[in-house]
Symmetry: C2
Subunit: 239 residues, 2 copies
């Protein structure tokens, strides 16, 4: 489809805008040092993230009321610590709470903020993320990510790739699905958005999962646009 | 209460951030000219706005599902046109739709954007408005109002002065009510926020209702702070 209609760019955040693996490993490493725990922080980051999709499933299936990602992240953290054999009895609740908020402290990929600032002149920029509002807001305030509004799962009360996560966003914005383009580094996300009638832009993030990344190394669908970075995306869109 | 705890400033928008009367009169006047209608646009603006509180009442009482302000504004417009004896049979639906969106085209008071830019360096800035997301977003994008996130009635699904409009905003932000301060030119709004435990800042807007304004000419409660403008507010808060 043509991207001439596009008014709003909606961004996946974890992996597309920010480098979650490096940030989670950094925050986990500091936590492990403080508590004299010996675990590879990158392995731990991968464990924690591996619980992400399963944690949202009950909400998607309707067997659990919609629950904010901050809350799910904390539950996943307990599971991850336990699965790494880490005794939590001597760790304060406050320390666990703080580590659970590590997802609020992730840094953008080096091109992200500069690219978004260019794109913002021509488009409305919003996250279409599974992250809750407070999480995405704190991340943006820390790093200068220039959202026009913070939308996403907490506003639509639906976790991607549920259709409502995409269609509800267009509805709230008062625009047609084909006036909204999802920007994401993940093929499954773009496929769901395309099936809802949104525009689709794939951005390469070849080290999201580290040097040996095996998924999302290339576009796997007929996406409307493929970009090497957010600066490249801005260039392609004439910003 | 002390404002030392405050992390987030939540702003009333219509009347506090933007001058709705001048903007609505301007948009209405252009519409009247195009359709050869003779009505004082300021009188019309006052009529339209007078329907605002009654229009939200069924949603507050629960006899009507929460309905976005854009939709209520359009219904109020039809009532206002009818009450001014304006025959709508020869006016296109598109023209009515466009005038209904006049509320998206309001200009900030002269001090507002500069004040917000200063306040933004120290605080998170969000609207706590009855305006829906798309309305507040389009207004901000047109005029440079630098929100960190767009909250308000559509996110909490509650119209001010319902307690949920204030407490739901704090909950979404993950903060305590006393870490959130309402900034408003309206005593009724500040009273409701104070009863929910929020901080309160009154800003004078003595011509919101025109030269002969009769209400909200002065603070009528024990508000935590009183400011002449957003620049004064920034000064008082050390921004």
């Amino acid at each position: 489809m043509s991207l001439d209609n596009i008014k709003v760019l909606g961004f996946d955040v974890f992996g597309t805008v920010v480098d979650w693996r490096t940030g989670i490993a950094r925050e986990s490493e500091a936590f492990f040092k403080r508590n004299a725990i010996e675990v590879d922080p990158y392995v731990f980051a991968d464990t924690w993230r591996s619980l992400y999709q399963p944690a949202m499933e009950p909400c998607r299936r309707g067997t659990r009321q919609f629950t904010r990602l901050d809350t799910l992240h904390r539950e996943m953290l307990i599971t991850a610590l336990t699965s790494h054999g880490i005794n939590q009895s001597k760790i304060s609740k406050l320390e666990i709470d703080e580590l659970a908020f590590a997802w609020r402290k992730l840094d953008p990929w080096p091109d992200a903020v500069d690219g978004l600032l260019r794109l913002k002149k021509k488009y409305v920029l919003v996250p279409i993320s599974n992250g809750n509002i407070a999480l995405i807001l704190e991340m943006a305030k820390r790093t200068g990510i220039p959202w026009d509004a913070i939308l996403g799962s907490e506003v639509t009360q639906a976790y991607k790739p549920e259709p409502l996560a995409y269609l509800g966003t267009a509805d709230i914005l008062g625009i047609e699905p084909n006036e909204l383009c999802l920007v994401a580094a993940h093929n499954y996300d773009l496929l769901a958005a395309q099936q809802c009638g949104l525009g689709t832009a794939f951005v390469y993030r070849k080290t999201e999962h580290g040097e040996n990344q095996k998924i999302d190394l290339a576009p796997e669908g007929d996406w409307d646009l493929v970009a090497d970075s957010f600066l490249d995306l801005a260039e392609i869109l004439g910003c």
